[in-house]
Symmetry: C2
Subunit: 299 residues, 2 copies
């Protein structure tokens, strides 16, 4: 595989294993696609599927899974804690290797158009793929969920979908398709049990209160370890690299006279994000990530 | 590709492009093998070829290239600055991903045996694949080169090959096959033009004078930049990671009151070596390199 995108569709089914298996089966059967993870949550009644593949193959797998979900999931009967508006609720495409964000945006729009045209499911485009500025934010698109959108989609011009009918699909609702950078879940554990310190540092590093551009952060308690944590989501490691978030937490922690015990990266992380860290701390001159031997395998 | 070894055969031909092309052609035609690099040096009259592949495929490519080299290169006519004893002079196998050193040793011995049996070329095993302790070192095996070995191989018991006849191949000489860890060429540039300082730090960090186990180091002058460098070969990054070499140079440089300008990694570097650096500086807890997204592609 040379060019790689990641796709993380969220399906509104977290209980009936046979339904989830059938949807995932559509992804598995596409050549050039590799399934990485399926996480189902019964309380949320939702499954998050992660797969990677060449752009064309990933688009095909995404479409086939959406089609299958529209046949097997009925939003009118769906109950769960997590907000949702469709059987395939949201589906971001993420550029991983030798693919630009622009290409991912195009890919997301093409898949969205195909879902609208062939399945008659209204499609909203979000984040980098959004056509309207008010549609970049997922929470706004999902406001009031399926039950509310059912009424508003045909009457409120602000809720008109980007593609497809201004009318929810009778069972599958609507789908949000988009493109975004990979998310990195990065936590810094502090040698204190004082939540006020974790909250203070989180506030200092996050974008919303004047911190780093692509960082979301909150204080978090690790009760069984008797410590607190600055829990971060890095929404664009190319703009705000992991080491920058680390160094800022470190400097704020020093100010509070608290030591860093260690850090955690939760789930998957792109190779380039890890290489950037090594590059920074070793002060590498002219290092290219293509010097990493394994990268040559995808050329 | 799931299991990956790297093979870096050195051929005693650095001038006749058509000869090099034919040898490399044998490697290219094997399925499951990927050619990474061909570097030919006319003064050395030698070419260094780098390829990776699944173990079985890499073994096949290594044998075929050795066969072709034995048909096209005549050591009796070969002149060059670099020491050599054979058409295929030396051929290390290196474990890269999901392959143990033990498996690489076995692979090297199998290829060596096949070269001896089918091509009637005497084979010496070196480094991790060595059968005799006095044969671990390449320089010892190559002592006196082709011209001297021609006489000694049949008369000096210490120079008896591990496989094949105690008589050089009439044109292809002998071949050294082995297994070793990946080499990392890692240089630290210092903010001084004082060669004595570079030499002093090199001496402090290298194994031979009491430093780190898997580090070779020497002082080096970068004339056009007006600075000096500690130039290192890291012979086993699993035992002595890159950051350890860096931190030791840094601490010695501080002692000399000299700043580090930057570092260089020359050529290829395994992903795990880079991930280890990030792991250390971010103090990661429980991070597994399998969390690197791209690694999942080879599962």
């Amino acid at each position: 595989m040379d060019r790689i995108v990641e796709c993380i569709p969220n399906f509104s089914e977290g209980k009936r294993k046979e339904v989830i298996d059938q949807i995932v089966g559509e992804i598995k059967k596409v050549k050039g696609v590799k399934l990485l993870d399926v996480e189902s949550d019964a309380d949320h009644n939702r499954s998050v599927v992660t797969f990677i593949g060449e752009p064309e193959a990933a688009a095909e797998a995404a479409f086939l899974a959406t089609k299958k979900a529209s046949e097997l999931i009925d939003l009118n009967l769906h109950r769960g804690e997590h907000p949702r508006i469709g059987a395939t609720d949201v589906m971001p495409f993420v550029p991983i290797s030798n693919v630009t964000m622009k290409e991912c945006v195009e890919l997301a729009r093409n898949v969205g158009k195909r879902i609208a045209d062939e399945l008659k499911i209204p499609v909203y485009l979000y984040e980098a793929a959004a056509l309207k500025p008010e549609c970049t934010n997922l929470a706004d698109i999902r406001k009031g969920e399926y039950e509310c959108l059912k009424n508003e989609i045909g009457t409120n011009p602000a809720r008109k979908p980007d593609y497809g009918p201004a009318k929810l699909h009778p069972t599958a609702g609507a789908t949000v398709v988009g493109a975004r950078e990979p998310l990195i879940a990065f936590n810094v554990n502090l040698a204190t049990n004082d939540m006020e310190i974790a909250k203070k540092i989180a506030k200092a590093v996050r974008f919303s209160s004047g911190g780093l551009k692509c960082v979301k952060a909150k204080g978090f308690e690790l009760k069984n370890r008797g410590i607190v944590q600055v829990s971060m989501n890095l929404t664009n490691y190319r703009e705000t690299p992991v080491y920058k978030a680390y160094e800022m937490v470190k400097s704020e922690a020093e100010r509070c006279n608290v030591k860093i015990i260690g850090c955690e990266i939760i789930g998957l992380v792109p190779l380039d994000a890890i290489a950037d860290v090594a590059n920074f701390y070793l002060k590498l001159e002219n290092f290219k990530n293509e010097q990493i031997l394994e990268k040559r395998l995808w050329e």
